[in-house]
C-alpha cells in the first residue's frame, strides 16, 4: 500500500463496497462487547460516510466511536465485499485530527515518547529503581501499579529492571552480530519488545543464531509508526518511517525480521516501496527461509496458542507458529476455542479504553484458561502483555511466552542434554 497515496483522498472509494449487510456484526469484538450498532464495523463505515457527505458533523461521540476500533481486522476477514475497514478508520481518524487535533495524551505517546524510546532507554535503570516504589511485584517479572499511573493506569507492567540481553544493555538498540557465517538479517525489535519484553528479543537472536543467521540490530531504529497511524497522525508516522528507512538503507537487501505481529504488518504494508529487503515474521522466516532444525531438548509444558490479529489477519500467518511449537519434544499442544479471537489489546486502544479492552480480553482469557494449559504462547509482545494482565486478574498461574522463547528454551535444554 503506497503511503504517500493518502487513503484520506481515497475514502469514498474505500467506503463504496460496503453494502451494509451487517455480516461484520457477527465478529467485531467491540460490537460483541457493547451491542450498539455504532460500535459495529458497519456502523463505523456509515459514520465515516456520513461525515464525508456532511450528513453528520464531528462530535465527541462520533470521535469516540471511531477511536473505539482495535484495528484488529477481524471484520476485514469476514466482510464478503472486501471492505478495508482498518484503512477507512485510520483515514477517518486523520480527517478528525485535521479538524480537532490529536488529544494531548496521544500526542505525548506518538510524538514524543515512541519516537524517542531508544534515547529514553538510558533512563531505564532509574525507572527500575522506581518500580518497587510505585508498584507491587507480581510473579512472572511483572509489576502491578499501586495507583493509576499517567498513561498506563493500573494495568500490569513488565519489569524494566530485569536482566536485559547483552545487545540491549546500553540502550534499546545496540548493534549486535551473532555468528559471522551464513545469512545476515536486520532484526526490527520494536517498542514493545525493547521496553517490555527484551527477553523475547534475546530468544529470537538465540534461535536465529542456532540456524547460522547473523543478526544485526541497528541502534537507530525507532518505533514502526503504527501508534501514530492509528492515532491519525500521519505526519508523525511519515517521520518515523523516514527515520527507519534511512537505517534500513544502510543494510541494502538484507531481510528484515520482526517478532512483533504489529510491527511486522506495518512494515510489510506501510513501508512497501520504501525498503528493499523483504520483511518476515520470525516464525515465517524460520520455516521458510532457513533450514529449520527442530529442537531435541525437551520442554515439558502444556501449551495453547493465541493468534495475534496482526499476524493471522494482517499477514495470513497461522500455521507457522503452531508447527514450530508442535516440533518441540515434550510440548503438549492444546488448541483453544476461537484461537483468532482478538485479545482486546489494540496498542494505544488499551490505554485509551482500559475497561473495554479488559472486557474484550475476558472472553479470550477464559477460553485460554479452559484449555487447562500451563503456558499461553503467542507471537506478539502486545498480546503477551494483555494476556498476562487478563490471566493475572483471573488468578490464573499460566505463564505467557513468545514462540521464540519456547523454542529458545528447547534449544537450551538440548545443549544441557548433550
Amino acid at each position: 500500500m503506497a503511503v504517500d497515496k493518502n487513503d484520506l483522498n481515497n475514502l469514498p472509494r474505500l467506503l463504496l463496497p460496503c453494502v451494509r449487510c451487517g455480516q461484520c456484526r457477527s465478529v467485531c469484538p467491540v460490537f460483541l462487547a457493547k451491542g450498539v450498532e455504532s460500535d459495529s464495523p458497519r456502523g463505523r463505515m456509515t459514520l465515516v460516510r456520513a461525515l464525508l457527505e456532511g450528513k453528520l458533523k464531528p462530535s465527541d461521540l462520533l470521535n469516540e466511536k471511531l477511536q473505539q476500533c482495535l484495528l484488529c481486522r477481524t471484520c476485514v476477514m469476514e466482510c464478503p465485499s472486501g471492505v478495508h475497514v482498518d484503512r477507512v478508520i485510520i483515514a477517518a481518524r486523520e480527517k478528525l485530527a485535521e479538524k480537532k487535533g490529536i488529544p494531548l495524551k496521544k500526542k505525548v505517546i506518538t510524538r514524543w515518547l515512541l519516537p524517542n524510546l531508544n534515547r529514553l532507554a538510558a533512563f531505564m535503570p532509574a525507572a527500575a529503581l522506581l518500580e518497587g516504589i510505585v508498584a507491587v511485584r507480581v510473579s512472572g517479572g511483572y509489576y502491578r501499579p499501586r495507583l493509576n499511573l499517567p498513561l498506563v493506569g493500573k494495568r500490569l507492567l513488565p519489569s524494566v529492571g530485569g536482566k536485559r540481553p547483552e545487545f540491549l544493555t546500553s540502550s534499546t538498540g545496540g548493534s549486535f552480530s551473532a555468528s559471522s557465517a551464513g545469512r545476515r538479517v536486520v532484526f526490527f525489535t520494536g517498542c514493545m519488545t525493547n521496553m517490555a519484553y527484551p527477553r523475547v528479543a534475546g530468544a529470537v537472536v538465540e534461535v536465529l543464531r542456532r540456524h547460522g543467521v547473523e543478526v544485526v540490530i541497528p541502534k537507530e531504529l525507532v518505533c514502526c509508526g503504527l501508534p501514530m497511524l492509528a492515532a491519525g497522525d500521519r505526519e508523525s508516522f511519515l517521520r518515523v518511517r523516514e527515520e527507519n528507512i534511512k537505517v534500513f538503507k544502510k543494510y541494502p537487501g538484507l531481510a528484515i525480521i520482526t517478532a512483533c505481529a504489529s510491527c511486522g504488518s506495518t512494515l510489510k504494508e506501510y513501508y512497501a516501496g520504501g525498503i528493499e529487503g523483504k520483511v518476515y515474521d520470525f516464525t515465517e522466516f524460520l520455516l521458510g527461509e532457513v533450514d529449520f532444525q527442530p529442537p531435541r531438548g525437551v520442554v515439558e509444558r502444556k501449551i495453547t496458542y493465541h493468534d495475534p490479529c496482526h499476524l493471522r489477519k494482517a499477514q495470513q500467518i497461522k500455521e507457522q507458529p503452531r508447527r514450530l511449537l508442535k516440533s518441540i519434544p515434550g510440548v503438549q499442544y492444546q488448541e483453544v476455542k476461537e484461537p483468532d479471537r482478538c485479545c482486546g489489546f489494540g496498542g494505544t486502544f488499551s490505554l485509551s479504553f482500559p475497561d473495554l479492552s479488559q472486557e474484550i480480553g475476558i472472553t479470550k482469557v477464559q477460553a485460554l484458561m479452559d484449555t487447562g494449559a500451563d503456558t499461553v504462547v503467542t507471537a506478539c509482545p502486545g498480546c503477551m502483555l494483555q494476556l498476562a494482565d487478563g490471566l493475572y486478574n483471573r488468578q490464573s498461574a499460566a505463564a505467557v511466552m513468545h514462540v521464540a522463547e519456547v523454542l529458545a528454551a528447547a534449544y537450551r535444554a538440548e545443549e544441557r542434554q548433550n
Binding site: V19, V36, E37, S81
Partner: protein, 470 residues
C-alpha cells in the same frame, strides 16, 4: 423530537444508558441493507435497547399514549426498509434479548428470545443433534425476531419450507401494550387448531401488528448425511426443464440453486481457482438423509440431468461438497466486484416466479441489464422460483441511482406479469409497498382493517406494507 416528559418516562423504564439520543448513535439505526435506506436520511429520534417483555409493553403503552411511532429492529439486515424509522419516533432495538429460554428437545422444540442470531441458535442446537431448518444467507447476523417478522427462508426451503412452518407459538406485545401468547397460552403441543391461527397472522407481519418478545420454535434432527449434484447447462431453458423433470421423477432435493452466466462470471472473477467452465447456467442440487438415501437420490438426479447436459458431477465427500458449494457461497460477495468503482445494491432483489418461468425471467433480467447499461448478477433458489438480481452501480452517482430505481421497478413488474410475486422472502416494507394494491387486491383491504383493529393509532411501524392506503 420526542417530548421530554416521554423521554424521561422511557428512561425510567430501561435506564438512560439504554436510550441512545446522540445523533451519531441514532444515525447508525437509520438504515438496513436496502438501497432506499442508503439514499435517505431516516434517523429515529430515539433508540431504545430493551431487555424484557415488560419493558417492551410499557414502552408501547407510552408510545400509544403519546402517539409516537415505534419501529422494532433486530439486526437491521432486512432489505426493504422494514426496520427503518422513516417517520422518526422510536427504534426499538431487540437484539439484546438474545437468550435461549428453554430446550425441550424430547418435544422437538425450543423457546427463544427474538434477538438471538440465527447461527447462534443453530450452534447451540448442533451438539444435541438438532437444527432450525430455515437458512437465510444472513444466518450469521440476522435475528429470529426479524425472521419471524419477514417469514424468512433460504436455500433449503424447497424441502423444509419457510420460518412459519416452525413457529409453534409467539409472545407478542400489541401496539396498545397488552401481552398475548399465540398457539396456546400454556401449550407445549406440536400442533393445535384451537382458535384462529394468530401465530400465522403475526409471522410475516413485518413488525406492523405487534412486537414479538418470545418464540416457541419447532426444531428437527440434523440429517445424517448430505450430497451434492452439480450440472452445467448450455441453454437456460434446459436447466429449467431439468428441475421440473426432477420433481416429476418423485425426488425432493433439500436445495436447488441456480447461477446464470453473470453469476458464474462474477464468482470466477472473485475466486479464479473455482475453475468454473463456460456455460449458460449452473445448477446445484443438495440432497440429505440417510447415507443410502443420499446416494440413491444423488445418482437419480445426476441421471435426469444427463438427459439435458453431459456435464454433471455428484459427490458426498464433505471436502468436495464444500468446494462446489463455494461457488454459490461467494456469488453474493462477488457481485459487487464485476465493475470497478461500483457496488452491488439491494433493489428488485427478491422476485419469485413459477419454477417453469425461471429461465425466461433470467433472460429478461439480462435484457434489462443491457437496456439500462447496468451490470446485473443473478442467482437464486430455482427450486422455488426465488431469484436474486444484484445490480451493480456507483452509489455516489445520482444518475445511476435514478436508473437503477427504474430497473428495479421493471423487475418487479415482470414478476407480477409472470404470475409471481415481488418478494419471495425479503418482505414488503417500504420498497415494495407500491406494488401491494396490484399484488394483493382486496385482501390488502382486509389487512388494513386488521391493522386498524390492533393498532388503532397507527403507532407500530407506520406506513409500511401499504397498510395506510393512498
Amino acid at each position: 423530537m420526542l417530548a421530554q416528559e416521554l423521554l424521561k418516562k422511557i428512561q425510567d423504564v430501561v435506564g438512560p444508558e439504554n436510550c441512545l439520543r446522540d445523533e451519531a448513535d441514532r444515525f447508525c439505526y437509520a438504515f438496513d441493507s436496502s438501497l432506499l435506506s442508503q439514499i435517505n436520511n431516516w434517523v429515529p429520534d430515539l433508540v431504545v435497547r430493551v431487555k424484557t417483555t415488560e419493558q417492551v409493553a410499557t414502552i408501547l403503552k407510552l408510545a400509544n399514549e403519546y402517539r409516537v411511532p415505534v419501529v422494532p429492529r433486530g439486526a437491521g439486515t432486512g432489505q426493504c426498509c422494514g426496520s427503518v424509522a422513516w417517520r422518526g419516533g422510536i427504534t426499538l432495538d431487540l437484539s439484546g434479548m438474545n437468550q435461549i429460554l428453554s430446550f425441550d428437545l424430547e418435544n422437538l422444540q425450543v423457546v427463544v428470545q427474538p434477538g438471538i442470531v440465527h447461527a447462534e441458535l443453530n450452534k447451540a442446537l448442533a451438539p444435541h443433534g438438532f437444527f432450525f431448518p430455515p437458512d437465510p444467507g444472513s444466518t450469521k447476523m440476522c435475528t429470529l425476531g426479524g425472521m419471524v417478522a419477514f417469514n424468512s427462508s433460504g436455500q433449503r426451503s424447497v424441502k423444509y419450507g419457510t420460518t412459519k412452518q416452525y413457529i409453534l407459538g409467539l409472545e407478542v406485545v400489541l401496539p396498545t401494550g397488552e401481552v398475548i401468547t399465540t398457539g396456546g397460552a400454556k401449550s407445549r403441543a406440536l400442533k393445535s387448531v384451537a382458535g384462529y391461527d394468530l401465530t400465522g397472522l403475526f409471522v410475516g407481519s413485518e413488525g406492523t401488528l405487534g412486537v414479538v418478545t418470545r418464540i416457541r420454535l419447532k426444531v428437527l434432527p440434523i440429517p445424517e448425511k448430505r450430497g451434492l449434484v452439480v450440472a452445467f447447462f448450455d441453454e437456460l431453458e434446459a436447466s429449467g426443464k431439468a428441475v421440473v423433470q426432477i420433481f416429476r421423477g418423485r425426488l425432493l432435493p433439500s436445495a436447488i440453486e441456480i447461477m446464470d452466466r453473470t453469476a458464474m462470471k462474477a464468482a470466477g472473477m472473485y475466486k479464479p481457482d473455482l475453475n468454473l467452465p463456460d456455460a449458460e447456467a449452473m445448477l446445484l442440487f443438495e440432497v440429505d438423509g440417510s447415507p443410502v438415501d443420499v446416494t440413491y437420490q444423488a445418482q437419480k438426479i445426476a441421471e435426469i440431468c444427463r438427459q439435458f447436459t453431459q456435464r454433471v458431477e455428484w459427490t458426498d465427500d464433505p471436502k468436495r461438497l464444500g468446494e462446489l458449494w463455494a461457488a454459490r457461497g461467494v456469488v453474493g460477495a462477488a457481485a459487487g466486484r464485476v465493475k470497478e468503482g461500483a457496488t452491488r445494491v439491494y433493489i428488485g432483489e427478491d422476485i419469485c416466479v413459477p419454477v417453469v418461468m425461471v429461465p425466461q425471467a433470467l433472460k429478461k433480467i439480462q435484457e434489462l441489464s443491457v437496456k439500462y447499461n447496468i451490470p446485473i448478477v443473478t442467482y437464486g433458489h430455482i427450486g422455488d422460483g426465488n431469484l436474486h438480481a444484484a445490480p451493480v452501480i456507483n452509489t455516489y452517482d445520482q444518475e445511476e441511482i435514478e436508473k437503477v430505481k427504474k430497473l428495479g421497478d421493471e423487475i418487479h413488474r415482470m414478476a407480477l406479469a409472470m404470475e409471481g410475486t415481488t418478494t419471495g422472502e425479503h418482505g414488503v416494507g417500504l420498497t415494495r409497498a407500491q406494488y401491494m394494491e396490484e399484488e394483493l387486491g382486496l385482501s390488502l383491504d382486509v389487512m388494513r382493517r386488521i391493522k386498524k383493529l390492533l393498532d388503532p393509532n397507527n403507532i407500530l411501524n407506520p406506513g409500511k406494507m401499504a397498510l395506510e392506503g393512498e
